[in-house]
Amino acid sequence: MARCKNCRLIFMLVITGGFFVVELVSGHIGNSIALVSDSFNMLSDLISLIIGLTAAKVSQIRRHRRSTYGFARAEVVGALANAVFLTALTFTIFTEAVIRLLRPQRIDDPELVLIVGAMGLGVNIIGLILFQDCCSKGKIRPTGCLATGVEEQMENKQPTTASELNIRGVLLQVMGDALGSVVVVVAATVFYVLPLDEDEPCDWKCYVDPSLTIIIVVIVLSSVFPLVKETTFILLHMVPSGIKLHDLDAKLCAVDGVHGVHELHIWELAGGKNIASLHVKCLDAPSYKTAALQIREIFHNAGIHSVTIQAEFLDRATDSTVMCSFPCILRECENKMCCDPPKDHNFEAEGYNEMRNNPPGTPSNNAEKDNAELSIFPSYNTTVKDVEEERKEATNGLLHSHSASL
């Protein structure tokens, strides 16, 4: 079934291409501007099909030298491109309709326009039927593997989400065209049934076309808008719907051996493939190893299967801070970081100024580096605590640092 998604696109492409050529040639032969301009509507359909097909083909590339994640995002980008094209097209149609309202024109050859419009409508209805099952599958939102392990089901559902968006973009374009053809047919019928003489001024019949077109523009725009929103949110790296960052945070902090979690980022590559990365503060390597397994399990249950965990090790003797050790080592890098550091970073402290005067080289052993780190980020309080208190502090600090960044 998945393979045939491309078959449908190719088939529709061939039909539309053929119809476009036929319309262009016959418009030129028959010297009718209406046919030529309608053929350009078909051309825009063709372009959106080409975009959709290219995106579908490209997104199947799994690995590429320059693109380590493969081209999985191609379909999302293709859907956005289609939506933007459609918006621009409807805007143009809207302006022409408004001009027609100000200067109404009659349809000169209603028969020809009627025939052409009907044929165009036929082609578009074929397209609608072909693509309509993209969205009738219902709201597929993979919220994560259930603990009972319905992995196969998830595998089947996931790949459709991105190609769903892609097909939806194409479908919206075809639908817009179909509605346009409907309007053409209606207006031509009106003129055919109640013909208007050459020298009569334009009456209500001339206003049918533009007013219906404006209604269509409103319909199409309101349908395109959700698609634009969805693709934009994926491209803006929104946390995938169904995953609550705060809950995940709480679960992660509750894991044995974890003293702090920060820089947690979760985003969707495309089609349900979620990727997460985080920093975890642990005591030492063995406790990190055991904690890592549990952390991965938590993510697995949430539906996130590509996780990169960076471990940061506490120095029990001197370090009681839960601050992140590695956002960066100099303050000047702040504008190159992806996110703002938590508010309670006390950069103005004396230790930090010391740091600035002695830029860090590449130290050859731990101790120097640790001291360098500590002087950048002074802890809240410098007394040594024992582990229990550290854990309590950890959760408080975590909530605090997260709420500060909100």
Binding site: Y69, Q310, N335, C338, D340, N366
Partner: protein, 381 residues
């Protein structure tokens, strides 16, 4: 209206008073120089378009009316850039863990798509007019396009210098690379019976914007400069898209003027469609670099400026004591100049994880990647 998506309220921000929201936006717009420039230029364009529309309605000239619609369309490109520059400054929250900084990449992408659409539209109009040359009357349109040309010149100067003026000692004159290729064709704009459109689209020229710009962020010596430089860095993509649009417009006005002169004085009717098609090709070609760059960023491609540096970094990391291998590196661009990477290291069971971590970080920091997640996997004994 069709039931094609679910309504998901998770990402709706908390309900604020509308007035407060709008005034918040205004404050945000006026605080940054780039968005200030965009806003005022948008106002200028909008007012010009309205004046044109009213004049066209009053003097009953379809050419003017459709040209004013065209200017409204261009204003949407400016609006997209403005919206992106405001949105990209919003703070990150629970739903958008990276914040909204990617909005500028999206704005560049959308602007590029609009430009391609315009090129396609001009091309189709050129063909239409070549097949059936209409009768042309361009008297009023000529004066309006001269005015439009002046407005766009203002825009060019503002965005050539406005976004890039900064003092720093790294020396890179900025507005250089964007103007090299010269401005060959014109945007076409013509007036003819029913559908007078003067479009300005200009294709710009291929610019190698991507790499020449590590000027601003390298050495900032006090906080204040840092803040302003950060804003400018992240607005690069927006400014590029907007700049391309404005130059396209300016060329268009020149095109109307020149083709009107040609037709009036030499009767070269064929000049009109040929100009249109030439211009649409040029626009298409000039937009390609911008589109390639923004699509690359959106598709999580490894940053092009790091292409040569990364293999060296991998080599150095693999030579660290205790590291068996480096697997699964992923590096991508969040927005201009901000790179994020994840890497997994397979290390010996007794290796010093802390030292390896700090070494890896410093190696990659020297390459310019400041946000790195290093996962250390201990090999089984």
């Amino acid at each position: 209206m069709l039931p094609l998506s679910i309504k998901d309220d998770e990402y709706k921000p908390p309900r604020l008073n509308l007035l407060r929201k709008v005034s918040g936006w205004f404050r945000s717009i006026l605080s940054d120089s780039t968005s200030r420039n965009l806003f005022f230029f948008l106002l200028l364009n909008l007012s010009f378009a309205f004046v044109e529309l009213l004049y066209g309605i009053w003097s009953n000239s379809l050419g003017l009316i459709s040209d004013s619609f065209h200017m409204f369309f261009d204003c949407t490109a400016l609006l997209a850039g403005l919206a992106a520059s405001v949105i990209s400054r919003w703070r990150s929250n629970d739903t958008f863990s990276y914040g909204y900084v990617r909005a500028e990449v999206l704005a560049g992408f959308v602007n590029g798509l609009f430009l391609i659409f315009t090129a396609f539209f001009i091309f189709s109009e050129g063909i239409e007019r070549a097949l059936e040359p209409p009768d042309v009357h361009h008297d009023r349109l000529l004066s309006i396009s001269v005015l439009g040309f002046l407005v766009n010149l203002v825009g060019i100067f503002v965005f050539k210098h406005g976004g890039h003026g900064h003092s720093h000692d790294g020396g890179h004159g900025h507005s250089h690379s964007l103007f090299n290729g010269g401005i060959p064709g014109l945007n076409h704009g013509h007036s003819h019976g029913e559908h007078g459109h003067s479009h300005g689209h200009r294709p710009l020229h291929s610019h190698d914007h991507g790499h020449g710009h590590s000027h601003s962020q390298e050495h900032c010596h006090d906080d204040h400069q840092c803040d302003t430089l950060q804003a400018k860095g992240s607005n690069k993509q927006i400014l590029e898209g907007v700049f391309l649009h404005i130059v396209a417009d300016t060329l268009g006005s020149i095109g109307v003027i020149i083709s009107a002169l040609l037709m009036q004085n030499y009767g070269l009717m064929i000049a009109d469609p040929i100009c249109s098609m030439l211009i649409s090709f040029l626009i298409g070609i000039s937009v390609v670099p911008l589109l390639k760059q923004s699509i690359g960023i959106l598709m999580q491609r490894t940053p092009p400026s790091l292409d040569h540096v990364l293999p060296q970094c991998y080599q150095r990391v693999q030579h660290l004591q205790g590291v068996y291998s480096l697997i699964d590196p992923h590096f991508w661009t969040l927005c201009s100049e901000v790179y994020i990477g994840t890497v997994k290291l397979l290390v010996a069971p007794d290796a010093d994880a802390r030292w390896i971590l700090s070494q890896t970080h410093s190696i990659f920091t020297q390459a310019g990647i400041r946000q790195l997640y290093v996962q250390i996997d201990f090999a089984a004994l």
